[in-house]
Point group: C2
Chain length 250, copies 2
DNA sequence: TCAAAAGTGTTTCGGATACACCCATGA
DNA sequence: TCATGGGTGTATCCGAAACACTTTTGA
């Protein structure tokens, strides 16, 4: 058995609550695509989403924050708990557990997992695998491979939650770099909502919230007219989010 | 120690997953008030919301359904998981646990609890206490006493969730008796939203959804003009809920 | 007969949608 | 110079909100 894994199993059932895990759907935005950070298990294993376990004296949120920090290198991540999963049968990966030699251990027991989603600035993330995995990379949310357990269900539910709560969630502020153009912001909304929006109406409405500051700079190098760069005015943004959010998508 | 309690503790850690519970915020509507079903612990204990534990081969939903059935006598309850709780410190009730003589047992360990809310027809519920409690009764959601653990937080979050998802949740269909008047339906919406709505606009909009069937009967005995009775057309209602719900409250 | 609640309209207004025109840029 | 994308402005429409009048009922 893998050394790291052995160490982890030995301390696992003392340090962590049994039967309970947290899993994170980490969203990023890059090249007009909404991305999700996935991990691939060692030993030619399957893909999964980043997860972790809850220490005896640790809150659920803290456990998720710790996991996020470990996988992305980022602090101060926007994070929301959205649903808990854990059908008694998650039989998708018994073979893998056997191959890893962990069947029978507390790791192979039934788990209730608390789902979180996170919004991160793609450009600031340096993906890091954990002790159980050797690859950590971004995947288009619409091209997710088969994942272990019920992780496909978890990703699907996370995306639905994001779509439904789009008005109240600071997607622009969290998923984009600090400077961005209006078409980029629109791209983000169109990708999440999965439908086209009118360019002119989008700009009008977005500016009407009064949370954007237009900079002198423009994004040059593009093939056409250079669009302005914008930045969120932090204070105005925060108060706008408190007062009902940025109403889009119905 | 109480006999039922003793039996439960003995089998508890074999039959159920440790550290995991479910809690239900059961909403009803009566006399123009949104109500929540509360339990009171034996031995002069505190109030709490109904909860239960998850069997080893039972899904979270099934566990909640089982609990609901036991407390209300109802099958086919509308039920939604809305959030999971479980700060490491839920120190509110150590004294009570000591008085019951269960400190040290698995019941006194740290729990992660999965929150559900339910919508039930008040008139069809016969509240039943469980093995740990001797009172089971309705309380106005705005006059909840101090509850054990973080149950006040759970109720608050359930109400917020209900308000935010009002458009997509069949509150009218689930919280009212099968026959009801338009003013009663409006009362329900006003109570949940906690604000007044225009009587005429409400009726117009509600009827425009095309899910209500007006009966020949009227509600007589009131002090004034007798209002018509309505009934939901099940098929039309279901398809309307799928197609975006009944849009109210922003 | 009268106060209060219920049924049925019409008017008004604002935000969302649709659409037209000009400008800048690299190919 | 031209195809394409970006910036700005205007007309329209529909649903929400505001509001008026009549009818019914028990007291």
């Amino acid at each position: 058995m893998d050394k790291d894994l052995k160490i982890f199993l030995a301390k696992g059932d003392k340090e962590f609550l049994p039967h309970i895990s947290i899993d994170c759907v980490i969203f990023g935005f890059h090249e007009r695509q909404l991305k999700v950070l996935l991990l691939k298990w060692k030993e030619g294993g399957s893909w999964c989403i980043p997860g972790g376990f809850v220490k005896h004296q640790e809150s659920l949120d803290a456990s998720a924050i710790r996991t996020l920090k470990e996988r992305t290198g980022l602090n101060n991540i926007y994070l929301k708990q959205f649903y808990s999963f854990g059908e008694p049968k998650r039989d998708n990966s018994k073979a893998l557990l056997r191959r890893l030699g962990v069947n029978g251990s507390w790791l192979a027991k039934r788990f209730i997992t608390v789902g979180y989603y996170a919004l991160v600035d793609y450009s600031r993330v340096s993906p890091k695998p954990d002790w159980l995995t050797d690859i950590c990379e971004w995947h288009d949310v619409h091209k997710i491979p088969k994942l272990i357990y019920d992780h496909n269900v978890i990703v699907k539910k996370a995306l639905e939650t994001l779509q439904l709560s789009l008005n109240d969630v600071p997607v622009g502020h969290k998923l984009l770099p600090s400077k961005f153009t209006m078409p980029e912001l629109q791209d983000l909304y169109e990708t999440i909502l999965d439908r086209k929006l009118d360019r002119r109406n989008f700009q009008k409405k977005m500016l009407s919230f009064g949370v954007l500051e237009r900079l002198e700079e423009r994004r040059t190098g593009g093939a056409h007219k250079s669009p302005f760069l914008y930045r969120f005015d932090r204070k105005k943004y925060d108060s706008a989010m408190k007062g009902g959010g940025l109403k889009f998508g119905v």
